[in-house]
């Protein structure tokens, strides 16, 4: 099981026959997956205890892969449980034009190049992603809203929104140029947005409704040999609602049955309005820092264990937020296309809102996931 190690994916993308697929004919192939899980969590935030569980099909995806020699295209149709943006349907839809020198121009809706972890469960080493704190943040928000006088009014941000600021959008719309060699990868993308602000256009709006934006994403990686790869990239968004940027870098080292990874994210968001509890609303920059450390060991041909530590820290307008996550996961492949994942994660939150609020808490998550790919 592989993650979206940039080098690996980029280099594999250089060979047209490297994707798993069911070939219908020379021009059309299919691939996809079905991801389902059971999870239970027990949270204790500022003395308030809660527990919950879920059992569901998390995501279903079918990719249509078209091949017309120099022109290839891909359309990903998906269902994703809990998609609050209601973007089920077309996850990706893009066309690639391979130039004579092997470089590729991509246009349409496609995945961001940034980030160590894959956007799909087929590329992960665990059930959860490193920076997903939605469960504990949801409980924290509920707690904050319950405080007398607390009200995150319209147009302001709650703690979940601040966390979103550290992660770029998984899928964007635009035009991308990529160059891949045996040991290097470079890509640059001009797109409608990078952080979910004012999407579906490329600037050009003179209205006062602050709905104009465009973004540039740049990424590069190099295989240094002996299993060591280095990736660095950034996303820069120019939006009427405030400029945002993120620098992402990670290193992977693979030796024998071991894979190690270390990643760091540094972000800055401008003019974010924050109102927590009864504090006066403030507007200012939000600085974010995130990192992960991961080790994966394949102890047999079909099984591996993974340990991961990840963290997010924010310094917002009057609000300091720190999140930690400790994860242990076990993967067992029942076959080449059927995987059983079990995971235990402990999440920790510390929220300090200028003396008005200083609380901490934790959340214990246990999950079993069954993943079928084709």
């Amino acid at each position: 099981m592989k993650n979206k190690i940039a080098i690996a994916s980029a280099f594999l993308a250089a060979s047209s026959f490297s994707m798993g697929k069911i070939v219908v004919n020379d021009f059309l192939s299919f691939e996809g997956f079905v991801d389902s899980s059971y999870s239970t969590n027990q949270s204790d935030i500022a003395g308030t205890e809660e527990s919950d569980n879920s059992f569901q099909v998390d995501q279903v995806e079918i990719s249509w892969l078209f091949n017309f020699d120099a022109v290839t295209a891909q359309i990903d149709l998906e269902y994703e449980d809990g998609d609050e943006d209601n973007e089920d349907g077309v996850e990706q839809a893009f066309v690639n034009l391979a130039l004579s020198n092997g470089d590729v121009i991509t246009a349409g809706r496609y995945a961001s190049m940034l980030g160590f972890e894959a956007f799909e469960p087929t590329g992960l080493y665990q059930y959860s992603t490193a920076y997903d704190f939605s469960s504990i943040l949801g409980d924290a928000n509920t707690l904050i809203q319950a405080i007398p006088g607390a009200d995150a009014g319209a147009g302001t941000s709650n703690v979940e929104d601040e966390v979103d600021g550290l992660a770029t959008s998984e899928y964007v719309q635009g035009v991308k140029y990529t160059r891949t060699t045996d040991t290097t990868f470079f890509g640059i993308s001009l797109q409608d947005q990078a952080f979910g602000n004012d999407g579906d256009r490329l600037g050009g709006d003179d209205d006062d409704d602050s709905d104009s934006s465009f973004a540039v994403e740049v990424a590069g990686s190099i295989d240094l040999g002996n299993g060591l790869t280095v990736f660095a990239g950034g996303a820069f968004e120019d939006a009427d609602s405030g400029d945002n940027q993120l620098i992402n870098a990670y290193v992977t080292y693979e030796t024998g049955a071991w894979l190690f990874a270390a990643e760091v994210n540094v972000s800055e968001s401008e003019d974010v309005a924050v109102q927590i509890g009864g504090l006066p609303p403030t507007t200012g920059d939000v600085d974010g820092l995130g990192y992960l450390l991961m080790a994966n060991y394949a102890y047999s041909d079909v099984a591996s264990v993974t340990g991961r530590i990840s963290s997010l820290e924010f310094d917002a307008s009057g609000v300091d937020l720190e999140l930690f996550k400790y994860t242990v996961a076990h993967n067992y492949a029942l076959s080449d296309n059927l995987l059983l994942v079990t995971e235990i994660s402990l999440e920790d939150i510390d929220l300090d809102a200028d003396g008005f609020l200083d609380e901490d808490g934790d959340n214990l998550v246990f999950a079993v996931e069954l993943l079928f790919s084709f």
Binding site: L12, F17, A298, S300, D301, N331, S335, D336, N337, L339
Partner: protein
């Protein structure tokens, strides 16, 4: 003019008679082409053997020239196989087909060969652990099915199958890859399949 049954039969008879020499000419052309290719192949093999023989010869022949000769030899071998495949099936196909064009048959035979060459046992001889993915595709063609493996030490698996339902007569081959190189090979059981037939 009314189209009546006797007229239709008459036209069909005339068309059959007229087209017979064309098919015969196609068969002759195929045989000639195969003979020419085999002669070229023999000549190239002789030149390659001469180039590879002895230190003196090796010193006179550059590495690039050797590579070029080997490439040309491989291409010639491939072309000869395709023509043989065409010759083996071409006669029956051409007479039974409504297409009736030598070039079309040539394309169809070439295409069939490229897509199904993995069903020939000798094509698997060079597929072994350590061989590159590109070499596998060159030898066997693109797989009808492949999957990005969920096993930790396997990147991708190629499945070469005639059928996954028919246990008796199906051919099944499976190749797993790690970092673009063959990890394991499960060749189709050609002997059992032949016996079953």
């Amino acid at each position: 003019m009314r189209i009546t049954s006797p007229k239709v039969w008459a036209v069909a008879l005339v068309a059959t008679v007229l087209s017979t020499p064309i098919y015969a000419a196609d068969a002759d052309a195929t045989a000639d082409r195969m003979a020419q290719l085999e002669a070229r192949l023999i000549a190239m093999e002789a030149r390659l053997a001469e180039a590879e023989a002895g230190p003196q010869a090796a010193s006179n022949v550059s590495e690039a020239r050797m590579v070029e000769l080997e490439t040309r030899l491989a291409e010639a071998e491939q072309e000869t196989k395709e023509v043989k495949a065409l010759a083996a099936t071409g006669g029956n196909v051409s007479q039974a087909s409504i297409l009736g064009n030598a070039a079309t048959f040539d394309i169809l035979a070439n295409s069939a060969w490229r897509n199904l060459r993995w069903t020939q046992a000798e094509q698997w001889e060079g597929v072994r652990p350590g061989v590159s993915m590109a070499a596998v595709v060159e030898a066997l063609g693109h797989p009808p099915r492949s999957v990005d493996s969920l096993k930790p030490r396997v990147d991708e698996v190629f499945y070469y199958e005639t059928s996954i339902r028919d246990d008796g007569n199906s051919l099944r081959g499976k190749i797993s890859f790690r970092k673009g190189k063959v990890l394991t090979v499960q060749k189709p059981n050609f002997k059992a399949n032949k016996a079953a037939q």
